[in-house]
């Protein structure tokens, strides 16, 4: 049932990477509870543009929870209070009339703020470049079922591969650790036959890139798993530990 609510927003404004940011308060009236959180921000930005003010910068792309682009820290939770959803899947019906909503960017040394609520998640791309791929010889199209994959392994790999790289794990972690992301990306290949060739090298390269980029050490609090929009399990982190340690002991 549609109704309209009036809300107060406390939003982090930061003009650039080196500038000191601060919270600005905005009042917004008549927001439809059917609108999504990002649509509400669009309404606010249109209002700001009409008032000849700088609109708020925030990341978004597909708006259907699959691209991993959106990411706001809303009222103390990455992607908001709802479990297993991204920011774009959060709706205003989750808020009450008169609520004050605090919106912050991901805060972590690995993800420096570019502007307002937009952070630079290029570090994740660099980790992927370090080893998050499978090298394939080009040639004829391989036969569909030439390489058998056990069902439970295929499913586990698929669960790991559902990571969209949004960075909520890093944002939620008190240590700013990227272990859940790296664990998911290492797991999805370590579980499949196609990933075996580069298995040891991949784990070592991705972990050392992660450390080099200034992410913290995992202390197994499990905050990442609780906030992950794709509910990636921390058992993948145990697998990453295993992959890395066995690769190192083999050396």
């Amino acid at each position: 049932m549609e109704k309209n609510i009036n809300i107060t927003l406390k939003i982090w404004r930061q003009a650039g990477p080196k500038v000191k940011g601060k919270f600005e308060t905005y009042k917004l009236d008549n927001i439809s509870t059917d609108s999504s959180f990002l649509e509400m921000l669009d309404v606010l930005n249109e209002k700001l543009v009409r008032e000849r003010k700088e609109p708020i910068a925030f990341d978004h792309d597909c708006r259907e929870g699959i691209c991993g682009m959106c990411g706001l820290y809303i009222n103390g939770h990455p992607h908001g209070l709802d479990g297993e959803t991204t920011t774009c899947q959060l709706h205003m019906r989750r808020f009450k009339d008169g609520d004050t909503i605090t919106v912050e960017p991901w805060r972590s040394t690995g993800f420096p703020v570019i502007k307002d609520l937009v952070v630079n998640r290029g570090a994740f791309d660099k980790i992927i470049q370090a080893g998050g791929y499978v090298s394939v010889n080009t040639g004829g199209i391989p036969d569909g079922n030439a390489i058998p994959v056990p069902k439970h392994q295929a499913e586990e790999a698929m669960d790991a591969a559902s990571c969209i790289g949004c960075g909520a794990c890093v944002a939620a972690c008190k240590n700013g650790s990227a272990m859940l992301f790296v664990a998911a990306k290492v797991s999805q290949f370590a579980l499949l036959p196609q990933g075996q060739v580069e298995r040891a090298a991949r784990a070592k390269a991705m972990v050392s890139k992660m450390d080099e980029l200034g992410f913290g050490n995992c202390t197994n609090t499990g905050a990442c798993e609780a906030e992950c929009p794709k509910a990636i399990s921390i058992s993948h982190i145990a697998r990453l530990n295993r992959e890395y340690l066995s690769a190192k002991f083999k050396d």
Binding site: E104, V113, N175, S177, S208, F215, G216, A226, L240, R242
Partner: protein, 243 residues
Amino acid sequence: MWLIDSSIGRKLIMSITGAMLVLFLLFHSIMNFVAIINPYAYDAICAFLGANWYALVATSGLAAGFVIHILYAFFLSLQNMRARGNDRYAVTSKQKGVSWASQNMLILGAVILGFLALHLFQFWSKMQLVELMHKAGAHSDEEAVRLAAKGAHWVQYYFSQPVYSILYIVWLVALWYHLTHGVWSSLQSLGLNNKKWLPRVKSISNVIATIIILLFIAIPVCGLLEAGPLFSPNSTYHPFPNL
């Protein structure tokens, strides 16, 4: 060196030293429990574990484990705080399934370390250290040397004072919190986990932590209640029964 340079290597050190300390605690707690049942048997264990070569080797290994565990804890925490960045979140919230202990391991560890200093002063410095000094030829009080192997005497002496019993209970509660996260976390860092075993490992770890603490806490509780052969008002225990 990957044990220092890589995050997983550092966690490996943390988990191995941690697991070592858990095994030590398990041994120590079982040994202590003997003091409640039979003080003389406890004195025999203490005499067995004096300044002998095997006890000294184990003690130095243990001390090294402690030092490495603590140094790495500060090292890791410092790095983690740096990784978190300078700007803190204005609003923070508790996530479901995230234990309080897991987010306060350093603070709990510091509390444990503080009490450890008291504990070493109260017991170790009056027992193994005295024997060691005596063997090394340092001048030592004859009475102190004779009491050095009488663990039950020192247990009786300190835990008949309610203030120490209460302090030790506080210490053990902090230790319990530290262990509820530490035990399963060390297994996770070693990679011994999967989706099916994660909840099982967590409950097994909680059981281990609880057993250790219950065994330990029995002594200060008996001290407070004046119960058992060591603490009851009509206790027959004497450090030198033949005198």
